[in-house]
Symmetry: C2
């Protein structure tokens, strides 16, 4: 085996909360899937560690049949320990482990000689930071410039990429405002409702209910009034139906966005995005070109009359250039090459 070929063996460690790719919600699994499929298309030898029902053109290796969020009989703790350790027990079969598994996988990384790179999809709480600090000399990729923790060995930022074929351009604008995402205060569903009420425009809400109390108290009372509808969780076809009806996507996040896949998805379909200027939103949305960055509800309402000035084809073109699977995979290839080069330098 030549040195080059030997550098091709990638273990892709996806989460096992959901299938890879997920049926509906599951952002980390979506990204892991997109990277995997993109790498395979570009000739890499990839083994995907994911749930047994996952779908991939890579080699699939699984010890957990289904996502623990999709099968109540699975103990998440058992599933995670079995799944993560399995990849490390097979580390010698790979030249690189690419982990999407949060802080847990780091705790196995020093027990193998195969290098690892972790895409940090988000810091779920401040309590996990000490783990990242302990393993700060490992290799990390951030998904936006804004979502970084100081002191970690970042090799770069690689923006998430989406499969543009899943989100065809909707040539003309619809009549409704659209909220698409987890029903959770972080995502500002209540702010989207305020914007709809103040602007008098209909609002279509879709997404899994992650915070039941929030839904019951701040979302549900408005449903069925003021042309506000809740459509439940939607699959890909459902998303495209929403984009076809969308005048704009409202994404009024209340905490810094880590990346915001849905912003890119909406833009891919030609839908302008009105996003809170917090976290990564200004990295994804070009203010005044592919949507508007706002700081509060009133600014969001005020920008709605300028939506017609957004060029829908420019929205899509921006995604094609910056947030396509190809662009993302090229980003990861650069990261992988850095790691392989460092290894070669150390061994020479």
């Amino acid at each position: 085996m030549t040195a080059t070929a030997a550098k091709n063996r990638i273990a892709m460690l996806s989460p096992v909360a959901w299938r890879t790719p997920p049926r509906q919600y599951g952002a980390w699994e979506t990204v892991a899937s997109n990277i995997t499929e993109g790498l395979v298309a570009r000739g890499w030898d990839v083994t995907l560690f994911a749930t047994g029902d996952s779908q991939t053109t890579a080699r699939l290796h699984s010890v957990v049949d289904k996502g623990y969020e999709e099968d109540a009989s699975i103990d998440p703790k058992v599933a995670e320990y079995l799944h993560i350790s399995e990849a490390f027990e097979r580390a010698a079969e790979f030249d690189l482990i690419h982990s999407h598994y949060d802080f847990m996988a780091l705790t196995y990384s020093r027990l193998v000689t195969t290098p690892m790179v972790t895409t940090i999809h988000g810091f779920s709480s401040s309590q996990i930071i000490p783990v990242y600090q302990k393993y700060r000399d490992s290799n990390f990729v951030s998904i936006s410039e804004s979502d970084r923790s100081p002191g970690l060995n970042y090799l770069g930022t690689v923006y998430n990429g989406i499969d543009l074929s899943l989100y065809p351009l909707q040539p003309t604008a619809g009549d409704a405002l659209v909220f698409l995402g987890r029903i959770h205060p972080d995502k500002g569903v209540h702010l989207a409702i305020e914007v709809a009420q103040k602007s008098g425009l209909p609002l279509l809400i879709a997404g899994i209910i992650q915070d039941k109390t929030y839904f019951r108290e701040q979302v549900e009372p408005h449903i069925g009034r003021d042309q506000i509808q809740y459509l439940g969780a939607v699959d890909n076809a459902g998303k495209n139906e929403l984009f076809a009806r969308a005048k704009a996507l409202l994404h009024l996040n209340t905490i810094p966005e880590r990346f915001g896949l849905v912003l890119a998805e909406a833009n891919a379909a030609g839908v302008p995005v009105v996003a809170m200027d917090l976290g990564s939103c200004r990295e994804v949305i070009k203010d005044g070109r592919t949507g508007f960055l706002v700081n509060n509800v009133d600014e969001a309402v005020a920008c709605l009359h300028r939506l017609s000035k957004i060029d829908r084809t420019e929205c899509r073109r921006n995604v094609e250039q910056r947030f396509s699977v190809d662009t993302m995979v090229e980003g990861y290839e650069r990261v992988y090459r850095k790691i392989f080069q460092q290894q070669a330098d150390q061994n020479s």
Copy 2:
């Protein structure tokens, strides 16, 4: 370093739910502490991996300051991953890792060459069995003959040992029945209450409330009536006060007991035990000699008039012989020697 000395370096991996030894409740940490202190007394070089506030004559290594059950600011998942992996990252410094850390530690065991033995303190649910099955060729110790899962490589049963100096013989019987343990349906507090009510004897209940609903519905309504008292959780001094007031310990477990440390503690103090004949109880209690094994409440009530026939010094002597720290440590020394011998055989 001679081969013999090299065999002396033991990493003792205690849980980090509580301090080692625990202040009050914490059976696994208690046993890990007793083994550690016993091994050190017998000349072994032991490093105890436990919370930072732990107390030991061994070398203490900690990455988690306090037990996650004692400090709400600690994320149990973070603490466990950091703590367990730390021991394995230092595996090369040891000749043996002795794990008290349930199934999680097994998932690191194949990534190091240092052998590991796991004391299985109990199977918390059927969902963890697949992990034990995957690692069934590792080394296991059961804490009773009854608490075994088929197919695992058991090197032996080592009964838990207690520090008898902590439980001085109470020479004369008290007047009350005593329940000591977690307030949980598994431990049959409600059955102890029934026995007290049917026999007309006072009942002293002590222990942490693990199942709040159970406490509220099946225990609390009886407190303050029929001479039934709840004393909360008790420390060692509190236990001895209870033993001084005890006519008998009632331990009417509703599921198979795994070992039953409290049975040995009561017997050490000279207190006879009335125990349900389920699981390991018949391995700890000699029926008619150190207490009585029963199958239901009526049998428990019926045996109370025979308590005076139990020789309290025989109760203590039985614990001295079979459930002392020395006896336990000798048991583990035999297990360790088996492992070292197997290693030597493989290397020769």
